[in-house]
């Protein structure tokens, strides 16, 4: 109960509602509490992993593409060391807000840990991946954070992304690991950039399809 009060959750007055309604409000509050990151209000890592597991099942079943982005604030330690931890917290909140402005309602955005955030973007075609990641990166870069009266800082993020292998099941740790490898690449290539895993499948061009099927035999829509 104390936990719920500390989290700022408003519970209905016990004398005004039925015990069932009150208990439901308490349970809802506890569920919310166990799935949120207290500082940023984003999903926490546990909630993220649950969402990722169900996304894997969906991809394996439906074969729709899905993208996971791992987003890490560049030189965050420097912010803490220079301006102190309260300033660091303000930066985390501001970055969380900027990231939140980039997502669709169906996406999952979480604070993965420390200064690392993670996004699940269901039904995101591979051709859109880099544009989406770049938009996120630029959104954060454009934000300046007021850490004290008259004092502003701005930060950048490095982003690594990996698409779920379509039709083939993966596991949550492996998917995160692949995105993390790209994040590592973004960091080593100089930070403030987005790197996505390159698809291994070589696409068949329209000319190749045309020759394969003889253009007179099939229309383009048959081959789509």
């Amino acid at each position: 109960m104390q936990l719920l009060q500390q989290s700022g959750r408003v519970l209905p007055d016990r004398r005004e509602v039925t015990p069932v309604v009150w208990l439901q409000a308490v349970l809802d509050g506890l569920c919310e509490l166990s799935s949120r990151d207290p500082l940023t209000g984003l999903s926490n890592r546990r909630q993220f992993e649950l969402a990722l597991a169900s996304e894997i099942d969906r991809v394996a079943r439906a074969g729709e593409p899905a993208l996971v982005l791992m987003i890490d604030i560049d030189h965050f330690k420097k912010v803490n060391d220079t301006h102190g931890h309260p300033a660091g917290d303000l930066v985390l909140k501001a970055v969380a807000q900027a990231l939140h402005e980039c997502i669709r309602p169906m996406d999952t955005l979480a604070r993965f840990g420390g200064e690392e955030f993670a996004m699940i973007l269901p039904n995101c075609p591979p051709s859109f991946g880099l544009a989406v990641a770049e938009r996120v990166r630029l959104k954060v870069q454009a934000r300046s954070v007021a850490i004290a009266p008259g004092e502003q800082v701005s930060v950048t993020v490095s982003i690594g992304g990996a698409f779920a292998p379509q039709w083939v099941r993966s596991s949550a740790p492996l998917w995160i690991d692949r995105a993390d490898q790209q994040l590592y690449r973004a960091k080593t290539e100089g930070r403030n950039r987005a790197c996505l895993e390159q698809p291994t499948v070589s696409l068949v061009s329209a000319e190749e399809k045309g020759l394969l099927f003889g253009t007179s035999q099939f229309s383009d829509s048959d081959l789509a």
């Binding site: 039709w167 492996l174 291994t200 070589s202 696409l203 000319e207």
Partner: protein, 277 residues
């Protein structure tokens, strides 16, 4: 669905031992397709049975590590799988099981879902397993997963020969072509076997093979380094569309055992005859 007389595997069997140690090793053939659902696992199982009928010692390795279903096709409920070998719970010998049809299988089991990405561990394990069993068999068939993932490509790279399974459907032909392109450019495969499944008329396999070869000659060969021989597609056989296949799959029996005289069974047997003359 399942027949009472169909054996359920409970105990491991003795592994056949090569007559002369180190004399010969099995020919490893990878079956792959690009698109799923073209009958790759059906063909692996029935081809293995047809090869066994010809007196060959055959093992099918379920290299479809992500979504294994060889056990479903063969109506086996393995207690021991490749997963147990990977985790060191059992010895490799104990995971080699007898299948109906007189051949052996190494089944992946659904526990291998986590290996659907190619880690150094999966690499090393697959290589070790194939090296260990190769001297004891004449043929090892690798039933790979759908798609052109790195696990599929790695499994294919372990094989002496690769056989691409396609159907006359445009999506299957496109994916078969994409697979051939990747194998020719990334693995420098010069000879690629092709089996066309579910053909509607005799000779359709040949037509499809010629069409694929035409596109390979035009688009893939120019991508190869100078002086490298052009990839050749070898039509190893065609399997006609046959209602018996559906019947056998539904009863979870081998077509070559249940309906040996059927058109599709004869097609599979002709492929076996080409692979084991």
């Amino acid at each position: 669905m399942s027949d009472a007389e169909t054996p359920t595997v409970t105990a491991p069997v003795t592994v056949p031992v090569a007559a002369t140690p180190g004399m010969r090793r099995a020919k490893v053939l990878a079956l792959t397709s690009g698109k799923g659902g073209v009958g790759k696992t059906f063909l692996s199982a029935n081809l293995a049975a047809a090869l066994a009928k010809r007196g060959r010692r055959v093992l099918v390795l379920d290299a479809d590590l992500g979504l294994a279903n060889l056990d479903v096709v063969l109506n086996l409920y393995p207690k021991v799988t490749l997963h147990d070998v990977f985790t060191g719970k059992v010895q490799l010998e104990d995971a080699i099981l007898p299948a109906p049809g007189g051949f052996s299988v190494l089944l992946a089991g659904s526990g291998l879902v986590e290996y659907s990405r190619l880690t150094p561990e999966v690499r090393e394990q697959l290589q070790r397993i194939i090296d260990t069993i190769a001297p004891r068999f004449d043929h090892i068939l690798l039933d790979t997963g759908a798609g052109i993932s790195d696990v599929v490509l790695y499994a294919v790279s372990l094989a002496d020969e690769v056989l691409v399974v396609a159907t006359p459907e445009p999506t299957s032909m496109t994916d078969a072509y994409a697979t051939i392109k990747v194998l020719a450019t990334q693995q420098q495969r010069r000879n690629i076997r092709l089996v066309v499944n579910q053909v509607g008329r005799v000779g359709e396999g040949r037509t499809i093979r010629n069409q694929l070869q035409l596109v390979v000659d035009r688009f893939v060969t120019p991508m190869l380094p100078d002086g490298m021989a052009a990839p050749t597609l070898d039509l190893t056989g065609e399997v006609p569309l046959d209602p018996g296949v559906r019947e056998a799959v539904q009863k979870r029996r081998l077509l070559v055992e249940m309906l040996p005289g059927s058109a599709a069974a004869r097609g599979v047997e002709a492929i076996a005859a080409k692979l084991a003359p």
